[in-house]
């Protein structure tokens, strides 16, 4: 899922302090960011209470409202917020970057601020721990690497083997990161496919990724 992390409270407050407002609407998203414990209903309520406390402490008269919709990346959900958005001066969205922008598309006259730093596509590898697994390169090569992606998980996106920088199976960039090539090697060995790694892999076609420009996908069957 898409993983995001709530911005530091100081950063959120700094963003808000740059705007003039008497009423703020905090909008949460009920899908990815709820699962990654960053922007769901509970986090929205929590943040609302913190901000109420903050403004009270500063003697500022501000009303804070909250709502959470299932997703902010579909207009049908975004439309449900029309009344509330109209009734509030500015909006703080706890959705991922997609949701924030989708809100602005529907409400182009409203200031919509991002409450999260959206980071990566990741898996939940342990309680409360999410790790990056895919960068959405648009040209999946997981078959060539037996289910471990060197594009996303190797710090240098190497396609032909490891650099010499790993120590004890960890990447030179961050000892918390497994060296993807060590994982690929172990996996290849385990399923008896080590000899397939001798094959030369040419440079990747990056135009299927953002390097080819922001992407758009049309599903013919559903778009008519």
């Amino acid at each position: 899922m898409i993983v995001g992390e709530q911005k530091d409270i100081e950063e959120i407050v700094e963003m808000l302090d740059r705007e003039e407002f008497k009423s703020l609407l905090i909008v949460g998203c009920g899908t990815c960011v709820t699962v990654s414990m960053a922007g769901g209903e509970r986090e929205v309520n929590s943040l609302a209470e913190v901000l109420r406390l903050y403004y009270k402490n500063k003697d500022k008269d501000v009303t804070i409202n909250t709502d959470t919709v299932k997703r902010q990346c579909d207009f049908e959900f975004v439309d449900k917020l029309e009344e509330e958005i109209n009734n509030n001066d500015i909006v703080l969205s706890l959705a991922c970057g997609v949701g924030v922008q989708h809100l602005v598309e529907r409400y182009p006259d409203k200031i919509v601020l991002p409450g999260l730093n959206t980071s990566f596509y990741g898996a939940n590898i342990d309680n409360g721990i999410m790790a990056e697994r895919c960068i959405g390169c648009g040209e999946c090569v997981l078959d060539k690497y037996f289910g471990i992606c060197p594009v996303a998980r190797c710090s240098k996106s190497l396609l032909n083997g490891p650099c010499g920088g790993s120590q004890d199976g960890k990447c030179e960039v961050d000892p918390e990161i497994d060296c993807a090539w060590e994982l690929i090697y172990n996996r290849a060995k385990r399923i008896g496919k080590l000899d397939e790694l001798i094959e030369y892999q040419p440079p990747k076609s990056w135009n299927s990724y953002r390097d080819g420009g922001p992407r758009k996908l049309t599903n013919e069957e559903y778009s008519s």
Binding site: K156, N160, G161, G164, G165, S166, W181, L197, I198, Y200
Partner: protein
């Protein structure tokens, strides 16, 4: 077509035990910095590497520095890393380097920018070292760019790569070395050797695969004079094997500089005897001035002629 592309290749083909060393360009734009270093190495070495923003620290570009040194009469080896330039930039650089008369290139992946002073930079890694080797090989030998376009005047480059006898997993590193040979690499420079037994074992495996016959292997030697440096390398530099005995030996030495030279010379003498080793590559860290002394003491000065 000429039998050899560069003087370095010529010497290796003639069966000479070559001596290469390294120079780091300045963090600045002074060409005299390079000229001074070149002066000190003249006559002692058969080829000199110029690093390419090593450890991701901004320095004068490898090609520019190499040209300045080449003009002083040295045989130069430019280094190209995959970190800072994409395929367009790299191919362009190769064409430029060749047009300036530079004839040797070492293809590297490159350290991640987190090691330098520009942590926040975007890295490129459009290609990896194997793809670099293949691309340049196709440019030189097929006269085509990566996109297939034919060049009227292709570049001339003697192509090298890095090899690490001490990194893990061992098997995977051998596969990668083989891939580099398949991609057209012509010479290797290895990681610095302190554990000679391990290096001998690695050369055995290299010989089993016949890679010493398909490429020239230059043993990496890192003369050092500091216990601290050895410990740092042992602990923090991945893929380096520094046995405790080496550190103890340096600790016990009265004159560490002399001991460092002695150890480097001994290593050179030992690797010279190993079948498949075609030369040495000296890369002293923060001690470049010791290179001529080590070469002399190892009995490798003066350099033999090459016609």
């Amino acid at each position: 077509m000429a039998e050899y592309i560069s003087n370095l290749e010529k010497r290796l083909k003639a069966g000479q035990f070559v001596v290469c060393s390294e120079m780091g360009p300045p963090i600045g734009a002074d060409p005299n910095f390079i000229r001074k270093k070149a002066e000190k190495l003249k006559g002692y070495v058969d080829g000199v590497n110029v690093t390419d923003n090593q450890t991701a620290i901004v320095r004068m570009s490898s090609i520019a520095a190499a040209k300045i040194a080449a003009d002083e009469g040295l045989e130069m080896i430019i280094q190209v890393t995959a970190r800072d330039r994409n395929r367009i930039g790299i191919q362009s650089d190769i064409l430029g380097a060749s047009s300036l008369g530079l004839r040797n290139v070492l293809c590297l992946t490159g350290d991640h920018q987190i090691f330098g002073m520009d942590e926040e930079a975007k890295n490129v890694f459009d290609m990896d070292s194997v793809e670099l080797i293949k691309t340049i090989n196709d440019m030189v030998n097929k006269g085509i760019l990566l996109n297939g376009k034919e060049m009227e005047v292709p570049p001339k480059m003697f192509i090298g790569g890095a090899a690490n006898p001490f990194a893990d997993p061992f098997e995977m590193q051998m596969i990668k070395m083989q891939k580099k040979v398949n991609a057209g690499v012509q010479f290797f420079q290895t990681q610095a050797i302190y554990n000679i037994e391990k290096f001998e074992y690695w050369m055995e495996e290299v010989r089993k695969l016949g890679l010493h016959e398909k490429s020239y292997i230059l043993a990496g030697i890192l003369p050092t004079r500091s216990v601290k440096a050895l410990r740092m390398m042992k602990k923090h530099v991945a893929g380096m094997d520094v046995p405790e005995e080496i550190i103890e030996r340096m600790e016990k030495a009265d004159d560490r500089k002399a001991e460092g030279v002695k150890m480097a010379v001994e290593t050179i003498e030992r690797v010279k005897e190993i079948e498949g080793v075609s030369g040495v590559h000296l890369m002293p860290v923060a001690w470049e001035e010791i290179t001529p002394i080590v070469i002399e003491k190892a009995g490798l000065y003066p350099r033999p002629e090459v016609d």
